[in-house]
C-alpha cells in the first residue's frame, strides 16, 4: 500500500535557525513527489515536484531533495512568514494522477 509519513509533526524554530523536514514514502513506482505549503484556512500552495532520486529544487529559503525512500525540505534561515503547515504527497505511476498525502509538519518560526 502506498504510504507517506512526515516528521516531525510540529517544529518550532527561532528566526534564522535552519532545519529540515522529512517525508518518508513507500510507493509502487514513484511518478512524482510533491511539496506544498498550507496556511490556515487556505488551500495547499504548490512548492515543488521531484521526479527522481538525486534531484534537488530550490525556491527562496526552501530546498527540496529526493532519495529512493525519502525527501527532505530544508529551510535556511527561516523567517516568521515561513510559518505554515508543509505537506508532502506522492503520485504513483499506476495512479490516475491522484496524490497520497502525509499528515504534514506544522512549522512555527518565532522572531
Amino acid at each position: 500500500e502506498d504510504q507517506v509519513t512526515q516528521s516531525p509533526e510540529a517544529l518550532r524554530l527561532q528566526e534564522g535557525e535552519s532545519s529540515s523536514l522529512n517525508c518518508s514514502y513507500t510507493v509502487s513506482g514513484l511518478r512524482g513527489l510533491f511539496w506544498y505549503r498550507q496556511d490556515p484556512g487556505k488551500g495547499p500552495e504548490f512548492l515543488f515536484t521531484l521526479y527522481s532520486a538525486g534531484e534537488e529544487k530550490e525556491k527562496e529559503r526552501l530546498k527540496a531533495t529526493l532519495t529512493k525512500k525519502e525527501s527532505f525540505l530544508h529551510i535556511t534561515a527561516p523567517k516568521p512568514e515561513d510559518s505554515a503547515t508543509y505537506l508532502c504527497a506522492v503520485q504513483a505511476h499506476s495512479s490516475t494522477g491522484k496524490l497520497i498525502f502525509g499528515q504534514g509538519t506544522t512549522l512555527q518560526v518565532k522572531p
Binding site: F34, T49, L87
Partner: protein, 113 residues
Amino acid sequence: SAVISQKPSRDICQRGTSLTIQCQVDSQVTMMFWYRQQPGQSLTLIATANQGSEATYESGFVIDKFPISRPNLTFSTLTVSNMSPEDSSIYLCSGLTGEAEAFFGQGTRLTVV
C-alpha cells in the same frame, strides 16, 4: 501554474440538507480531483472527476453521498448530500496539469449544524 477557483469559500448548513460546491479551472488542467480535509488532518481523496462520465470514487466514498459532475474540461461540482455534523470539513478541488503538477483551490469550509 494553473488557476483554480472554488465557491463558496465557506458555508454553514443544517443537517439533512445538501450543498453543491463549484470548481472552475483554467485550460491548462487535464484532470480534476476532489479532496476532503477534516479538522487537523491531512487531505484524503474523495474521487476523480471524469469529463462526461461518472466519477471514480475512492474506498469509503459513494456516489449517493458525494455526487460529482464534470460537464466539460474546466468545470466540476461536488455535492455533499444529506449532511450530518461528521461532514464538517474543508473540501478542496484540485487540477492536474500536463506536466503532472497538481494545484488546489482555496477550499470550501463546511460546517454542519
